[in-house]
């Protein structure tokens, strides 16, 4: 240790400055200031205004409950950020249960040194996303961890919402003959985040598809469509979502590759990186399993919502073998679709 390092003077108390300090998670004045200046103004609503330990909700009937944690690098990417993801992700999980998302909790884990401006932006995005999805952020928690122990900011959200579907929705309801409907083009979120993280100089900026999908799901329910199953397509992409359902439901599923929309720029990026668009992540896409006889009507309803304007039928459920998902390629030959094995890693050449 040099003389320079050895200082006996008592360090001045850390001010708030313009970055997150450990004191911001310490439960004292600094934390109150953080909550008062950044968090509460953004999420302002009567539940938070009570400054209680938790929210007291008046719920009746069946309620769906979902949670998800969000760790994304970079925090901001074209088409969204960790805040929009954290709200839409849980809102969408509730929608997949046939529920109307109503209340969210938010847990923030902040890394010491995170610029407060970054936090403001993320919290602002969460508020905007919550407004767009019609949910309130009614309770929350903030912790601060040492510098180097988190990628800037981690978020957990949990959500509650009344189930509005009048018939059960889930893999167990899927039947042979059901139509498989996809709500729009796939692969944009995964490529947008990868491009932002790695700094690929693609000619066009690919934006994430991050969006709430509650509206079209509620519209399907309101139209009286007998939805058998819904699944939002996040990590693992369309392939993982569909294979999981085929395995759980004990059915086979036949997809038609030509019907699956992939934007030109996303398709080209996948080619360059050696990725299958069917395995690339989405954040505003879902598949719906409905009886064949209702497929056309379901498509018409979905296409009225902006977020699912590109809805298409991509396949049909078969009687088995259980878990077998095939995809008919451009040359008319079927290939097996499986979940991704391990992490998605770009190939060498």
């Amino acid at each position: 240790m040099s003389d320079k390092d050895f200082v006996l003077a008592c360090p001045a108390p850390a001010g708030d400055g313009d970055t997150v300090q450990l004191a911001h998670g310490g439960g004292g004045r600094a934390m109150e200031r953080l909550l008062d200046t950044i968090i509460r103004p953004a999420f302002d609503n009567p539940h938070l205004a009570r400054r209680h330990d938790g929210a007291v909700l008046d719920l009746a009937g069946p309620v769906a409950f979902a949670t998800d944690s969000y760790v994304v690098k970079p925090l901001f990417f074209p088409g969204g950020d960790i805040g929009t993801l954290a709200v839409n992700g849980t809102v969408n999980d509730l929608a997949m249960c046939g529920a109307r998302a109503a209340h969210l909790s938010v847990g923030l884990i902040l890394e010491e040194g995170l610029p407060l401006d970054t936090l403001r932006r993320v919290v602002g995005s969460m508020r905007s996303a919550a407004d767009a999805a019609g949910v309130q952020l009614v309770t929350g928690d903030t912790k601060v961890v040492d510098h180097g122990k988190a990628d800037g900011l981690f978020v957990n959200t949990a959500g509650l919402g009344p189930v509005v579907a009048t018939t059960p929705v889930g893999p167990g309801e899927v039947r042979a003959g059901d139509a498989v409907i996809l709500s729009g083009d796939i692969g944009r979120h995964g490529i947008a985040v990868m491009a932002a993280r790695e700094g690929f100089g693609f000619e066009t900026v690919i934006e994430s598809d991050c969006a709430p999908v509650g509206e079209p799901v509620l519209a399907l329910i309101a139209a009286g469509i007998a939805i058998h199953c819904l699944r939002d397509l996040t990590r693992g992409g369309l392939a993982s979502g569909v294979v999981e359902i085929a395995e759980t439901a004990g059915v086979s599923i036949a997809l038609d590759e030509a019907a699956i929309p992939v934007r030109d720029d996303v398709g080209s990026a996948c080619e360059v990186l050696g990725l299958d668009p069917l395995h690339v992540a989405n954040e505003g896409r879902f598949v719906a399993f409905v009886p064949d006889s209702e497929a056309e009507r379901a498509l018409a309803v979905l296409r009225r919502s902006e977020v699912s304007a590109g809805a298409v039928r991509i396949g049909t459920v078969g009687a088995g073998p259980a878990g077998d998902v095939t995809c008919r390629g451009p040359l008319g030959i079927d290939r097996i679709i499986d979940m991704l094995s391990g992490e998605q890693l770009p190939r060498i050449c």
Binding site: P330, L331, I333, R335, I336, G342, C349
Partner: protein, 370 residues
């Protein structure tokens, strides 16, 4: 997308398949060199469009698969040093050496970074002058020019904390070795289009002449491959053994001269062991004497070759085209991408991985049924 779709047009594909069937009078066995071609064949079911008499067997062109285990061990050893940052293409991370893989080394705290270009590794070296940045340079002639450029730049900038662990391989010597094999059944090659984009195809003339095999430089899209097969079968049927270029939209006879020049400047031809195949004379690239300072083996000690251990895995036979993945008794049962016995099931360019991914664990049964 339009451009890609043109090369996947079902009517044109059927047209080629019919033309191949019309000219085929005898059984022929063709090898496609490149793992990218293997994946296209299995993914699009191109082999299923061909007449029964035409058999496609899969070649050694999977860079991850043929990288010797001892180089992976060395990379893991380097990654374990506190001062080191090991940079690698992503595909290399899940391939095991003799003990463990780079993903495991990463989970134990090794600073291992996935890069998309060797120039990204240079950037990391510039940004971390107090660390030793090592780039794991593997691949065929396709990746060699960019890797050579990284060493060239490092030398020009005097970037003393950058080095490369080099295990590059060359295609033509491997083709000769495969044909020399006593049990080889290869009668013609679809040469790898991207390798030839760099190298041209003059170096294939001696092979075609010596072994009397047609060699057709072929692209990667379904119609490229079907046209390559058509050109190859036509040669076989006509008793010719020539070098032809199907992939002329990308490949010129003399290749990419500037790319070859930087390779010649930075690398020298060396003997190389191929995983699953064995030692092949003059089949690798190592850093030339002028670039010896940038050789990770100089800084961190040489890679020590150890004999490959015998396992149930038949990856070596698959890489030499002597067996197809579903012929392996472990395929899809004791060997899957989640629990691989060998590299060809791990790499995204490996033949076993292609069969498993696109045809599933029942690939053998499916093929028999068809």
């Amino acid at each position: 997308m339009k451009f890609r779709d043109e090369y996947r047009d079902p009517k044109a594909a059927r047209g080629y398949a019919d033309a191949i069937a019309r000219i085929t009078t005898r059984p022929w066995t063709l090898m496609e060199i490149c793992g990218g071609q293997t994946h296209a064949i299995v993914r699009y079911g191109i082999d299923e469009l061909l007449p029964d008499q035409v058999t496609l067997v899969h070649g050694p062109g999977c860079p991850v698969c043929v990288t010797p285990a001892e180089y992976i061990d060395k990379a893991i050893e380097i990654a374990g040093r506190p001062e080191a940052i090991l940079c690698s293409f992503g595909d290399m991370l899940r391939v095991a050496g003799t003990g463990g893989d780079l993903l495991g080394a990463k989970s134990r705290g090794g600073d291992i970074r996935v890069v998309y270009s060797p120039l990204d590794a240079l950037k990391i070296a510039r940004e971390n002058p107090e660390r030793e940045v090592v780039f794991f340079a593997v691949g065929f002639e396709t990746t060699a020019p960019a890797n050579a450029m990284a060493a060239y730049q490092a030398k020009r900038e005097g970037l003393a904390n950058f080095s490369m662990l080099v295990s590059h391989v060359l295609v033509p010597p491997a083709m000769s070795t495969i044909l020399d094999g006593p049990t080889s059944r290869i009668q013609a090659f679809l040469a790898a289009g991207h390798v030839c984009t760099v190298m041209g195809f003059e170096e294939y003339y001696p092979i075609a002449a010596r072994y009397r095999v047609p060699i057709v430089v072929t692209g990667f899209e379904p119609l490229d491959i079907l046209e390559g097969v058509y050109m190859t079968v036509r040669q076989l049927e006509e008793g010719r053994a020539e070098v032809e270029n199907q992939y002329s939209r990308s490949v010129k006879r003399d290749g990419n001269r500037p790319a070859q020049e930087i390779m010649a400047q930075v690398f020298k031809v060396t003997p190389r062991r191929w995983r699953g195949i064995g030692d092949i004379a003059a089949s690798g690239l190592g850093l030339s004497d002028a670039y010896a300072d940038y050789d990770a083996e100089h800084r961190f000690g040489p890679v020590s070759a150890e004999p490959e251990t015998e396992t149930e895995c038949i990856a070596g036979l698959v890489l030499r085209g002597e067996k197809k993945p579903p012929e392996c008794p472990a395929f899809g049962t004791r060997c899957t991408p989640d629990r691989p016995l060998g590299v060809t099931m791990v790499s995204s360019e490996g033949a076993c991985a292609a069969y498993y991914r696109y045809r599933g664990r029942h690939a053998a049964a499916l093929k028999a049924a068809s």
